[in-house]
C-alpha cells in the first residue's frame, strides 16, 4: 500500500523525515518497499488489515513515535429520512449493509488536492463522484460503491447468491457466467454488481449521473476471495474485504462520505443501515510471567502497559498480569501470543539480550540416511567425480528423446512451462542432459553424479519418493562402462537395488542390472556422438 506522506501528516503529528519514518516503521511495525518525498510503500501483510488505510497507518505511526492522531470517531450517520429497501438473503454473507441515496450531484473534475492524494496512492483520478469513494477507501480502508440511482429499479436492493449459469456484464465490459457461490447486489429486475468485487455495466455512474445509491458493506471474506479468484478480478476493494473490515470503521467512513458528497452539492434523501452494528470486543488475558518467559527478558510492568496503551489497547491489571481489550480496528489480535508480539516490538527487539539454549534430551531421529548420503557424496568426490544437482522435473527434451510414458509420471496440474510438467522417476536422463550441455562447452571427459529424489505416482496416496544415486560417465572412449564398473566396484555396495528403465534405452550387450551404456540412438537424439554409460540405484535399499 502506498501511503501519501502529505496526507499522513493531516492525520498524525509526527516529525520524521520520510526515510526516518520508513526506518522506524520497518523496525517496529511493517516492512517498507519504497520511500520517496511523496509516499512510502508498505509491504502488504496478511494480518494487519488495518494498515490498508491511512488512518490505520496514522495510528501505528502515532504509537511508535509517541505522537497524537488528529482524528476521532464521527457521529452515527443514521438520520430521520426515508429508507432504501434492502433485502439480504443470507446475513452471514453480508452482516451489515448501508446504502445512501444522494441526489443533486454534478459530475466534475476533482480538486488538485484530491488528485495529488490519489496520485501519491497510485490511483488515477476519474471524476469527483468516483474519486470520493476511492479517497474514503484509502483513508478508512472501507470500500464503497456508487450505483447510478436512476438505473436501480424501484430503488430496491436485494443481496443474494447467483443462480447457476446466471450471467452479468461487469464494468470492464466482460460477460461473466456466474456460479452459486458468487454474491450479487441486484434490484427487482437484474444484477447491479458482484458484491465487493465489481459493479455491473448497466448500473455504472456516467457523466450524466446526478443521483447515486452509495453502498458501504461488509461481505464475507471467503466469498469475496472465491469470486475474485474464479473470475480473475483482483481489486483494491476486494483485497480490503478479504482482510476483513470492522463495523465502527464502516460507520465512520459512511458518515464522512455523506458529508463530502454534501460539500459537493449532494443532497442525502434516503438512508438505510441494515444489520447488527454492535462490536463484540474480545478480552485476552496477558500473563506477566508468560510474557517475559516468551520474550526472554524482564520488561517492567509500566512499559508493557504503555506499549499496549499507545497502540490503542485497553489494559486492566490483575494479580498475574492484565485483561486486555484490543481496539476495534485490530482484528488480527486473537490470542495472548499476539499481545506478546505487540509488547515485544514496541519495547524494542534490539533490547532483547541473547540467551543460549540447552537442548540435550531431544527425541532422537534416525540419522542413517543423511549420514549415508553425505558419506557417499564424499566417497564419490574422492574417486574424482563432480557432484551435480538437477531439477526434480524432466525437461520436454528428455521426455521426447527417451519417448517416456507420461502416464507413469507424476504430473503437475499447473506447470509454469512444459519444463515443469512431469516429475522425474529416474535421475540418469537428467545427467545425460548435463553431459550434452558440457560436451557443447568442450568438455571431453565428464564424470558426474547426483544423489536426490525421484517420484512415482501411487493410487489414492502421495507419490513414492525414494533417494537414488546416479552416475554418468563420458570418458572419451568407446567403452566407458568398463571404467564405470570400476567406480561402482570401489563404492562397495552390498546389495544394489533398483532398475534402470526400459531396455530399449540401452546398449544391447553392455549392461548390467544397475549400469549400462546408453543406446547411441538415444544419445544421437541429444546430438551426443560420444559413448556414455550410466548407473543408478535406490540408496536406502542398496546400502
Amino acid at each position: 500500500m502506498k501511503v501519501s506522506l502529505s496526507w499522513l501528516k493531516e492525520l498524525v503529528n509526527y516529525n520524521w523525515s520520510p526515510q526516518e519514518l520508513a526506518d522506524r516503521l520497518s523496525l517496529k511495525s511493517i516492512g517498507v518497499k519504497e520511500v520517496n518525498d511523496n509516499f512510502i510503500e508498505l509491504d502488504l501483510t496478511y494480518n494487519r488489515g488495518d494498515l490498508l488505510s491511512l488512518r490505520g497507518v496514522a495510528r501505528e505511526v502515532a504509537a511508535i513515535s509517541g505522537t497524537q492522531i488528529k482524528f476521532g470517531n464521527l457521529p452515527n450517520p443514521k438520520q430521520n429520512l426515508p429508507e432504501v429497501s434492502v433485502k439480504i438473503e443470507n446475513p452471514k454473507l453480508a452482516p451489515v449493509y448501508c446504502v445512501a441515496k444522494i441526489e443533486n450531484l454534478k459530475v466534475e473534475k476533482s480538486s488538485d488536492s484530491w488528485i495529488k492524494k490519489l496520485a501519491d496512492s497510485g490511483i488515477r483520478t476519474v471524476n469527483n463522484i468516483a474519486d470520493i469513494t476511492n479517497l474514503i477507501m484509502l483513508e478508512y480502508g472501507q470500500p464503497m460503491h456508487a450505483f447510478d440511482g436512476k438505473k436501480v429499479q424501484n430503488e430496491e436492493i436485494i443481496v443474494r447468491n447467483a443462480k447457476k449459469n446466471e450471467t452479468v456484464q461487469t464494468l470492464d465490459g466482460k460477460n461473466r457466467i456466474l456460479t452459486t457461490s458468487d454474491l450479487l447486489i441486484t434490484d427487482s429486475q437484474g444484477i447491479l454488481g458482484l458484491a465487493g468485487v465489481m459493479g455491473a455495466k448497466n448500473s455504472e455512474v456516467s457523466n450524466s449521473t446526478n443521483t447515486i445509491l452509495l453502498e458501504a458493506a461488509i461481505f464475507d471474506p471467503v466469498t469475496i476471495r472465491k469470486t475474485s479468484m474464479n473470475h480473475g478480478l483482483y481489486s483494491e476493494a476486494g483485497k480490503r474485504f478479504q482482510h476483513r473490515l470492522t463495523k465502527t470503521n464502516l460507520l465512520n467512513a459512511f458518515a464522512e462520505v455523506i458529508r463530502i458528497y454534501g460539500d459537493q452539492g449532494g443532497k442525502l434523501t434516503a438512508i438505510s443501515l441494515v444489520g447488527d452494528f454492535i462490536e463484540n470486543p474480545k478480552t485476552i488475558i496477558l500473563n506477566y510471567d508468560r510474557l517475559n518467559n516468551l520474550i526472554g527478558a524482564s520488561i517492567p510492568k509500566n512499559e508493557v502497559e504503555s506499549a499496549l496503551n499507545n497502540l490503542g489497547f485497553e489494559v486492566n491489571s490483575n494479580d498475574q498480569g492484565w485483561e486486555v481489550r484490543p481496539p476495534n480496528w485490530r482484528l488480527d489480535i486473537q490470542i495472548e501470543e499476539d499481545l506478546v508480539e505487540e509488547v515485544a516490538r514496541i519495547y524494542g527487539y534490539e533490547k532483547i539480550e541473547t540467551k543460549p539454549l540447552s537442548l540435550e534430551n531431544a527425541e532422537p531421529l534416525d540419522q542413517s540416511i543423511p549420514n549415508l548420503i553425505l558419506s557417499l557424496k564424499q566417497k564419490l568426490k574422492n574417486i574424482g567425480l563432480t557432484e551435480v544437482e538437477t531439477y526434480s522435473f524432466y525437461s520436454s527434451q528428455v521426455i521426447e528423446n527417451l519417448n517416456l510414458n507420461k502416464k507413469s509420471l507424476v504430473k503437475i496440474a499447473n506447470p509454469i512451462t512444459t519444463e515443469t510438467e512431469y516429475l522425474r522417476d529416474f535421475i540418469w536422463p537428467n545427467l545425460i542432459e548435463v553431459v550434452d550441455k558440457n560436451i557443447k562447452s568442450d568438455f571431453s571427459d565428464i564424470a558426474i553424479f547426483e544423489i536426490g529424489k525421484v517420484y512415482s505416482p501411487k493410487k489414492e496416496d502421495l507419490p513414492i519418493e525414494e533417494f537414488r544415486v546416479s552416475i554418468a560417465l563420458m570418458n572419451d572412449t568407446d567403452n566407458p562402462i568398463t571404467e564405470l564398473e570400476a567406480i561402482i566396484d570401489s563404492l562397495k555396495i552390498t546389495k544394489p537395488s533398483g532398475k534402470l528403465g526400459d531396455l530399449a534405452l540401452f546398449h544391447p550387450t553392455r549392461r548390467t542390472k544397475n549400469s549400462a551404456e546408453v543406446h547411441p540412438r538415444i544419445l544421437n537424439k541429444f546430438a551426443i556422438t560420444k559413448r556414455v554409460a550410466v548407473f543408478e540405484i535406490n540408496l536406502e535399499k542398496s546400502l
Binding site: 483485497k239 540419522q367 568426490k381 562447452s441
Partner: protein, 348 residues
C-alpha cells in the same frame, strides 16, 4: 533449368542411397547444400527467368530440395541403424581402471555440510519430509487455512490428481521445508530439535534471481513440558548461525514480520558483512540485509498436531541458503545451481 533439376535429382538420389558412412553422406550434403552446392546455386539464376517460367520452376525447385533433404535424412537414419546393429557384436568387457580426476562437491552440499555441522553441535538432528505433500501438512496444519488470503504468499505448483482418485488441489509440491514440523510434531514425542536442508518448489518464472526449485534450511524446536523457549533464544541461534557462516562480526537484528505459522514472527536482518553496516551496493545502502524468517511456533500449529500449547512452546528459524551462497561467492545467477555447468561446479 527444369532439366538441370531433374539431372541433379537423378544423380544425387542414387549417390545418397549408395552412401555407406556418415562422412560420405556429409560430403554429398555439402555438394548439394554447401555454399556453392548444386541446389544452393539454382535460385541465383531465378532473376534471369521470365515470370511465366518462374511460376513453374520455383515450386519444382522447392519440391526437389525437400525430396533431397528427406533422402539425406533417411539415409542418415539407415546408416545409423546399420551402425546400431553392430552394437550386438560389442560385448560387456571386464571392469577397467579408474581415471585420475579431481572430484568436486556441489557448492550447496559444501554449504549444507557447514551449516549442518554447526547445528549438530547444538544437538539438532536432520530430518527429511516429502517433496510432494498434502495440503494439510504444507498449509493447513501450519495455520494457513483454505481460502485465507495469506495463501497468496506462496505460489504453488499442484499435482494433477485426476488419475489418482484424489480431490484436486489437495496434493502439491511443498513450498517450504516446514512440512516437516507437523509430520514430526504429530508423532507426539517432545522435546523436538530438528533441522532440514532440502529442496522446495514455487510457481515462479525463472530468471537470474528467481528459481522454481530452491533450497531451504530450517530448524524447529519444541521445548520440554513447562520449559519456555524465548525470543532471546531465537536471537542466540540467529547470531550463532550468522557468526558461524559469515564470521565473528556478523550479527542479527529482528524486525516484525508476518508468517502465519509463528507468533511473534520476525524477519532477521544480518549486519552487512561487506560494508560492516555502512551501506553498500549489496545491502542496497541499508547496512543490513534480510536473511531469514523466524519466530515462536504459533499455538494453532501446536494444537493442530496434538501438542498442548499451554504446556509446550517452540521456535523456528528458516532461510534460503542459495541466496546466502550467492552473496558469499558473488554468484550472479541462481540458475547456476541446478543447470549442471561443470565450469561453474568445478570451480568449487
Amino acid at each position: 533449368m527444369r532439366e538441370e533439376l531433374s539431372q541433379i535429382i537423378q544423380t544425387y538420389l542414387a549417390k545418397i542411397k549408395q552412401a555407406k558412412t556418415q562422412n560420405e553422406l556429409g560430403e554429398i550434403y555439402l555438394e548439394l547444400f554447401g555454399k556453392n552446392g548444386e541446389i544452393t546455386k539454382i535460385p541465383k539464376q531465378f532473376p534471369q527467368l521470365s515470370i511465366e517460367e518462374k511460376k513453374i520452376i520455383a515450386p519444382l525447385f522447392t519440391r526437389t530440395k525437400l525430396e533431397l533433404e528427406k533422402a539425406v535424412e533417411e539415409s542418415k537414419e539407415k546408416i545409423l541403424e546399420e551402425g546400431y546393429k553392430k552394437l550386438n557384436l560389442e560385448k560387456l568387457d571386464p571392469k577397467g581402471q579408474i581415471k585420475k580426476r579431481q572430484g568436486h562437491l556441489h557448492p550447496s552440499t559444501q554449504f549444507k555440510k557447514e551449516i549442518v555441522d554447526l547445528f549438530q553441535k547444538l544437538g539438532f538432528q536432520e530430518i527429511f519430509a516429502p517433496h510432494v505433500e498434502w495440503d494439510k501438512y504444507n498449509f493447513e496444519d501450519l495455520n494457513i487455512p483454505k481460502d485465507h488470503p495469506s495463501r497468496d504468499m506462496w505460489d504453488t505448483l499442484y499435482v494433477d490428481t485426476s488419475r489418482l482418485e484424489i480431490d484436486p488441489g489437495s496434493m502439491l509440491l511443498r513450498t517450504h521445508t516446514s512440512n516437516f514440523w507437523p509430520r514430526l510434531m504429530s508423532k507426539g514425542k517432545t522435546p523436538i530439535c530438528a533441522m532440514s536442508f532440502d529442496r522446495c518448489f514455487r510457481y515462479e518464472a525463472v530468471d537470474a534471481r528467481h528459481a522454481h526449485t530452491f533450497n531451504q534450511f530450517e530448524i524447529a524446536i519444541v521445548g520440554e513440558k513447562g520449559k519456555f523457549i524465548s525470543m532471546a533464544n531465537l536471537k542466540y541461534l540467529s547470531d550463532y548461525l550468522l557468526k558461524g557462516i559469515l564470521g565473528k562480526e556478523a550479527k542479527s537484528r529482528f524486525r516484525p514480520k508476518y508468517y502465519p505459522f509463528v507468533e511473534p514472527g520476525v524477519g532477521i536482518d544480518c549486519l552487512c558483512v561487506f560494508c560492516h553496516g555502512k551501506g553498500c551496493k549489496i545491502c542496497s545502502g541499508i547496512g543490513w540485509f534480510e536473511i531469514a524468517g523466524a519466530g515462536l511456533i504459533h499455538p494453532n500449529v501446536l494444537s493442530a498436531t496434538g501438542i498442548d500449547p499451554k504446556e509446550h512452546n517452540g521456535l523456528a528459524w528458516g532461510f534460503g541458503p542459495d541466496r546466502m551462497l550467492m552473496l558469499k561467492h558473488s554468484i550472479e545467477d541462481i540458475r547456476y545451481f541446478l543447470e549442471g555447468d561443470l565450469k561453474f561446479l568445478q570451480s568449487y
